[in-house]
Symmetry: D2
Subunit: 465 residues, 4 copies
C-alpha cells in the first residue's frame, strides 16, 4: 500500500490498509483500461487544439498513452492493486514514461467523475454491440436449423399440454422473434447512452475553454451530455442495458427449459451432441443437458445484477457518490453471463439432433385436432361455444375408448351433431391442420418460409446501432 | 360460483370452489374492459368484412358491444366475480343482450390467449402515453421553477460534501435530463409493443381467412405480430415497460431524497407548502415531507413489480401458460404507483419555497473555491497534481484558522506557491466560480438559459409515441 | 376530504387533495383494525393501572373500544378514506362514542409510530401462525397420499433425466421436508418479532411512567422492545417473515412445476381431478393444470414483495420515516398469496390421481439400473471409476441394440468385465434397486414408512410458535 | 482441455471446448477445497469402519487427503481449470499420490451431488460463524464508543426532522439491536442447515451399508439429512443465509447513510479519521466518507445475490439440476461483501470523532421540546389532542419570532392555555427532556447504562451457534 494517493494534500494520516483495500477497485475496473486510455488521448488532443496544453507536450503524452494502450492490449501492463483504480494505474505508468510533472497535466480540466462516466459509457456501448453480434450468431443458427427442418411437425403446447400441431421451424422462429426484440432493446440502449460526459468535471463542468464536441466526436459519441450534474451522477444507461440483458436472459431461460424438456426421455424430441452433453460421476447411463440447465440457472444471476444496480441507485442524492463504484461488477457480470449463454446455445443448437419421428408420433396422442373439429362445425354455422361443447364430449368419448378423434366413426360424430359428414376426416390430418393455419404469423409452410426469408434478409443487412 | 365455465364439455365435475376462486382474475383484469370490448369490435368487423360472419349479425354484435363499452365507462357494468375473467364477463353480458347463440360467435377464430395479449398491449400502450404526459407535466413545473430561480446559487455536492457552487436551475435541469431519458424509454417500449396479436389463436393461428392487417389497423397497431407462438407466450413488452418505470421510480427516489434532505433543518434549502406537508400525532412542532418520503419508499414497490414479472417468466416453455395471468398485478401496480408519484411531485414542486438565503449562506463554508484555486495555478503552468497538493495544504490551513480560502492573506498563498498574485481573489467569488463554468452542459447563466430554452421547446412540440 | 388532520395546530393551509389522497393508507391498513383496537385496549388498561388515566375514564374507553372491535369483526365499521389511516378511523369512531375530549386521551403517552409498529407485529405474528397451519394442512395431505401410495415406484430424476427408481412416497416426503423447514423459518421469525414496541413513543420513549411489561404481556408479547429508536425505525421482522415466505413460494413453485410436468401427456404420472383442472375456450380437448401453473407463477409475486421491502428500507436514516408506510402492501400480499397457494395445493393433491402404471412403465426405459450395475462391480473390488466406465460402455451397447441393461446376455457383460456372473440380473429389478437403498433417508419401504411415521408424529404434536 | 472427464464411458465425442469452459466451475468452487477434502476423509474413514474399504487402503487415502488439505491450505495446490470442478481436481491429485485405482475407490457410495451439498453446507456453516464474529467485533466497537460518549446528547430524528433529544449512545445502541437480530438470524440458519447430506448419493441414497451418523458426527453435523431427494435438490439453506445477509446489508446501509449524513457540513456530527476518508482528484478541499458510501452501495449487491438464488431455484423439478452450480457465486459474494463491510465499519467507527458541540447546538433549533410541552399539559388533565393543538400554535409563534419555545414568555404560553405556569421552563431543558424518558428502552442515562451493561454481558458470554 505504498502508493501515495493523488488527493493527499490536506490529509494528516496515511489511509488505513483496510480502508485502502475496501475502496480499491482496480481488480474490477482494470477492464476499462482501453477505454480509459482512449478517453485520455481524446482529452489531451482537445486540450492541445484549444491551446490549454502546448502541442509538443500533448504529442509526448499521446505517444505515451498509445504505448500504454498497446501494453494493456497485449497483457503486458503491470496492474498495481495498491493504486486504487484503473485511472491511477494508467497515470502512474504515464508518470514513469514522461515524468510526473507532465503526467500531472493530463488531469487538467478533468475529474475522475467525468472520466469514469466516459469510460463506462464507452465500454457499455461496445458491450451492447458485442452482445448484438452474439444474438445474430444464434439467430443465424436458428435460421439454418429451421430452414433445414421446415417439414418437421411437432405438437405446439399450452399449459404443457399438447394443443395443436405446428412446424418445428415455426417454434424456432418464435425464439428468434424474442431475440430480435432483445436486440432492439440493446440497440435503443446503445443509442440513448451515446453521449460524452467529458467536460462535466467533478460535477459542475470546468473553467477551461474545452471543446466538448471535439472529444465527443473523437470517441464516437453523438454529442456531449447536456447537464454536468446528471452526467456524473446517473447510471441509468447501465440499468437500461442490464434490464435488456435480464429480459434476454429470461428468454434464454425459456429456450433452455424447452431444450431440457425436449432432451428428456419423456419428450425425446431432441438429442444434444455428445460434445455438448455431460455425464454423471455416479450414474453411467446419464447424458445430461447441463449446458441448457446452466443457461437456465444463469438467468438468476442477470436478474440479480439488475436488482443490484437498481438498489445501488435508489435514494442517492446528486451528484457523484462513491456508491457508484459498485456499478461495474453487476454490469460486467451481466454482459459476460449473457454472452457466454448466447455462445453455447448457438454451439449446442448447431449440432443438436431433432428426432422428427418422436415429434410426429407425439401428434397422434392428445387430440390436437379438437379445435379444428370445432372450427369445422363453426364453419358450418354452429355457434363456436356450442361446437366447443360438442367436441368436448367427443374428446371424452375418444379418451374413454382409447382412440384418436379421427378414429371415431361418422355415426358417433353425427350422434353428437348432425352437421358432421365424411369430409371431416380429411381435415383432421396433422399436415392439413397446419396448412390450414395460413394467416400471417401462422405455421403453414408458406408462412414459415416467408418468415425465414424475412429473417434471412434482416440478418444479411444488419447495421448497428 | 354458479356460472358454467365455457370449456366444460369434457369435464365430469364442477370446479371446486377453491380452485374457482384461486384462478379467477376478474377483480384485477376488469380493468382491461375497455380494451377487451374495443378488440372484440375490431374482430367482429373484420369477421364480417371477410364474410366469416354475416354482416347483419356483426352489426347486432357491434351495437351490443358498444353498449357494453358505455356501461363499463360509466361504471354501470355489473362485474360478476363468479365468471372467471373480464372476457367471460363481457361475453356473458353480450349473451344477455343478443342471446347466447350469437354471442357465442364472437369467439370464432379467436382464443382468450390472443385476446388477452391484445388487451394487455392496448392497455400498456395507453399507460405509457399517460405516464409520458405526467412526466411532461412535472417537467413543465421544473422548467417554470428553474426559470424563475435562475439566479439562485447553491452548493453542488459530491459524496454529500459541498463541492462547487452551481445554479439551482442547473440542479433542477439535472432532474429534467433524467426524466427525459425515462420518457424516451417509455416511448421506445410503446413503439416496440405496438403489434397486434389478434389472429394468433390459442398458439398456432387459426384456420379462418382472417385479415390481421385490418384488426391491427383498426386498433392503432403498426402491424400484426409475426409469430403466433411468440404472440401468446411472451410478455417482454410488459417487462420492458416496467423496467422503464423502475428506472423512473429510482430517479424519483433520488429527487425525493434531495427534497427530504433540503427540507431538513440542517440544509434548510426548501420548504414544502403546508398543503404538501404533514404533521405528527405526537410532536406538535413537526412539518414532515411525507410526500417525498412516500415517493422514495414507493420505489421499492416498482422494483418489486419488475422482479415479479421477471421471475414469473423465468423458465416457462412455449406457448401460453396460466402463470401469465400473474402479469397484470405488477404491471398495473407499477403504472399506478409511478403515475401517483409524478403527480404529487409536480404538485409539491409547484408550490415549494426555495430558501435562496440559506443556499447562498451554504456557499460560504466548505471551501468550494478550492478547485478553482488549483485551476488558477494550473492555468499558470503548474502541473495540476501539484496545484492540487498546494491547495490541499491551504485548505488544511484555512480550516485550522476557521477562515475561508478567500480570506487567507496573499503572503500565506505565496508561501505555498510563488505563482499566486492578488488577482486570484476576484476569481474566487461564488458568482465568478459559476460563470467561469461556461462550457456546454455547465452551470453558467448563459448555459442554463440555453438549456431551459431547449427544454421549453421540446415540451412545446411533444409528439407521441 | 373534510376530516381535520390531528396534527394541524401549526399549519396554515388545508392539505392539498392530491397530497391527502397520496398519503392516505386506510384502504390498506384497515386490515390492522383488530390489532389496533387490541393494542389500544391494552394501552388504556395500563394507563389506568398506572394512574395516568382515571379508571372510570379507562372503563368507558375500553367499553367503547370493545364495541369498535365488534363492529370491525362483523364488518359494520364505517371506514372513512378521508381519515388518513386505521388509527385515525378508530379514534374518530371513538370520539363519536365517548366524545372527543375523552377519545383524545387515548393518545396519551403513545405515538402513531409505536402504535403502528405494535399493530404490525401483532398482525405478522398471527399471519405466521396462519401460514404454519396451512403448511400443516398440506403436510397432512401429503402424509395421507404418501401412506396410501407407498408401494408405487417411479423414476427419480436428475437433470430431468431418469436416474434411479424411488418410491412415490419418498418423492412426496422430499416436498414435506422442504415445507417443514419453511415452517421452522416462520416460527423463528414469529419468535424473534415477539417484542412489544408500545412505550417507544414517536422515537424516544415517553415521559410517562408506563408499565411496558404489562402491555407486552397483555398482548401476548414475550417482552418489550429494548430500544425506542430501533422499535419505531426498523421493519426487519417483516423482511424476515417475507423472506421465509419467498423461500416457501419457491418451494411451492418447484412442487407446481412437477405437477405440471407429471400432468403432461409425455409424463402422464398424474391426473388432477376435473374439479381442479380448467379447460380451454378454444381447444375442447384441453385439461390444463392451471392451479399448479398459477402457484408457480405467483412465486414471482412473493419474491417481488421481498425485494420491495428490502429496497424500501435501504439507506433510511433513523428513526421513523414515512417510507415505512409502504411496508404493508408487500407484507399483506406475500401472506395472502402464499396462503392461497398452500390451500389449493392441499385441495388439488387430496384429489389427484397417481397413475402407477405409467410410473412403473417409465422405469423400463432409461437404464436406471446402471448405477447399481457399477456398484455391483465396485462391491466386487473393481475401483468405482473403472466400474463406471465399464457400465458406460454397456449402456451405449444396450442403447444401440434397443434393449434394457438387464436384457444384455451374460457373455456381453463378461466381455466388458470378467467379474460379472449370473447373480447380477436379480440385483437389477426395480424393486431390488429401491430396497437396496435402505440407509437412513433412503427410498426403501422400511425407511419410507419410518419417515412417514416421524412426520405423522410431528403433525400430531404440533405446538406454536 | 486435455483432461478426460470421469463420466465418459458412453460418450463418443470429446466435449466441445466451449461447453467445457461454460460448465467448468473450478475457478469458483475451488474455495470449497478444504471442505471437500474434510468430507472425503470422513467418508473414507466411515467406509473403512463399515468394511466397505480395506483399512490399509483407507489409511493410504486419508494420509494423501491430509497432504492435499495442507497443500490447499498453504496455497501450493495446483488447480487445473481443465478439470471441471473442485472435486475432480482433488481426485486427480489423489490419483497422482496413490494411483488411480485406489483414488477411484474414494467415490464408492458417493456422488458429486451429495458431495457438493455437503461441502456447501460445511462452508456456509463456517461462513455464518465468521460473519457472526465480525458482527460481534462491530458490536464491541459500538459498545465501547457508546460507553465513552454516554453523556453526549443529539437530536433524534423522524422524517429527517429533528424530533426529540436522545443520547448518542442510545442511537448507537439502536444500531446494535439491529445487528443482534441479524446475528440471531444467521445462528438460526446455521443451526437449521446443520444436517449432513453424505449418503444421499446422486438422489436416491446408495446400496452400500453406510453409517451416515458417523460421517455426520465426524463433520460436526447434528444429524444426517432425512430425505435423499431433498438433500441433493434443495439449497434453501443458502437462501436463508443470504436472506439474513441481505437484511444485515440493509441495516448496514442505514448505518452508512447516517454516517454520510453526519459527515456532511450541514450536520457536522461526525468526522471520520483521515485514515478512513478519501479525497478528490479534482477538488482539494474534499474529505469524503467513501467507506460509508461503499457500504451503502454494496447493499445492492447482496440484495442482488439473494434475488439470484431465488430466481435460480424457481420452478426446478427434483432432484439435482445443473442449475444448482450457480448457487456458489451469489453465496460467496454475499458473505464476502457483508464481511468486508462489517470490518471497515468497525474500523471507521473505532476512530471516528463525534462532535459533541455540534450535536448539542443542533438541539437548540427545531423545537424538540414541543412534545414535552404538550405532555406537560396532558399531565395536567388537558386531553392530549387539545394539548397538541395548543403547542402547535405556540411553535408557529416561536418560529415566526425566531425564538425557541423555552424563550416564549409565560404570558404568551398562558394566552394559549391557562394551565401553564413557571415550572414548565425547567422541564424543557434538553437534559430534562432526555432524563424524563426513563422507561425501559428509553434514552435516559440510567436506561442507556442498563442497555450497555446488557450488551456487554452478552458479548462476554457469546456461544455459537
Amino acid at each position: 500500500m505504498g502508493a501515495q494517493p493523488t488527493w493527499g494534500g490536506r490529509f494528516a494520516e496515511e489511509p488505513d490498509a483496510r480502508a485502502a483495500r475496501f475502496t480499491a477497485s482496480v481488480d474490477v475496473d482494470r477492464r476499462l483500461g482501453p477505454q480509459d486510455v482512449a478517453g485520455s488521448i481524446a482529452h489531451v488532443r482537445m486540450l492541445a487544439a484549444r491551446g490549454i496544453l502546448p502541442s509538443d507536450e500533448a504529442s509526448v503524452l499521446v505517444a505515451a498513452l498509445e504505448r500504454i494502450a498497446r501494453e494493456i492490449e497485449e497483457g503486458r501492463f503491470a496492474w498495481d492493486p495498491s493504486r486504487e483504480d484503473v485511472h491511477m494505474n494508467v497515470e502512474a505508468r504515464l508518470a514513469q514514461l514522461v515524468g510526473s510533472d507532465l503526467a500531472g497535466k493530463l488531469h487538467t480540466a478533468r475529474s475522475r467523475n467525468d472520466q469514469v462516466a466516459t469510460d463506462l459509457r464507452l465500454w457499455t456501448r461496445e458491450a451492447c454491440a458485442g452482445t448484438a453480434r452474439r444474438i445474430d450468431a444464434l439467430l443465424s443458427v436458428l435460421h439454418a436449423r429451421a430452414t433445414e427442418t421446415v417439414d418437421i411437425l411437432l405438437p405446439g403446447y399450452t399449459h404443457l399440454q399438447r394443443a395443436q400441431p405446428v412446424r418445428l421451424a415455426h417454434h424456432l422462429l418464435a425464439w428468434a422473434e424474442m431475440l430480435e426484440r432483445d436486440r432492439g432493446r440493446l440497440r435503443d440502449a446503445a443509442r440513448r447512452m451515446n453521449e460524452c460526459p467529458l467536460g462535466s468535471g467533478a460535477l459542475a463542468g470546468t473553467g477551461f475553454p474545452l471543446d466538448r464536441d471535439a472529444t465527443a466526436q473523437a470517441l464516437g459519441f453523438d454529442r456531449p451530455t447536456a447537464n454536468s450534474l446528471d452526467a456524473v451522477a446517473d447510471r441509468d444507461f447501465a440499468v437500461e442495458a442490464v434490464a435488456a440483458l435480464a429480459c434476454l436472459a429470461v428468454h434464454l431461460s425459456r429456450v433452455a427449459e424447452e431444450l431440457v424438456l425436449w432432451s428428456s426421455r419423456e419428450f425425446g424430441f431432441l438429442r444434444l451432441a455428445d460434445a455438448w452433453c455431460t455425464g454423471s460421476s455416479m450414474m453411467p447411463q446419464k447424458r445430461n443437458p447441463d449446458v441448457a440447465e446452466l443457461v437456465r440457472g444463469k438467468c438468476g444471476r442477470v436478474v440479480g445484477d439488475l436488482v443490484a444496480l437498481l438498489v445501488l441507485l435508489k435514494g442517492l442524492p446528486l451528484a457523484y457518490n462513491r456508491d457508484l463504484q459498485e456499478d461495474k461488477p453487476p454490469l460486467f457480470d451481466a454482459f459476460d453471463t449473457v454472452d457466454a449463454c448466447l455462445e453455447v446455445l448457438a454451439g449446442a443448437m448447431e449440432t443438436a439432433h431433432f428426432d422428427a419421428e418422436r415429434m410426429h408420433a407425439a401428434l397422434a396422442e392428445g387430440h390436437l385436432e379438437a379445435t379444428d373439429l370445432a372450427d369445422w362445425l363453426a364453419g358450418r354455422g354452429v355457434p363456436f361455444r356450442q361446437a366447443h361443447h360438442v367436441v368436448g364430449r367427443l374428446v371424452a368419448r375418444a379418451e374413454a375408448e382409447g382412440r384418436r378423434l379421427a378414429e371415431l366413426p361418422l355415426e358417433t360424430l353425427r350422434a353428437e351433431h348432425p352437421a358432421f359428414d365424411a369430409t371431416v376426416y380429411d381435415a383432421l390430418r396433422p399436415e392439413a391442420l397446419v396448412e390450414r393455419r395460413d394467416g400471417f404469423g401462422g405455421p403453414s409452410r408458406r408462412r414459415v418460409l416467408e418468415a425465414l426469408d424475412a429473417l434471412g434478409r434482416r440478418l444479411a443487412s444488419r447495421d448497428w446501432p
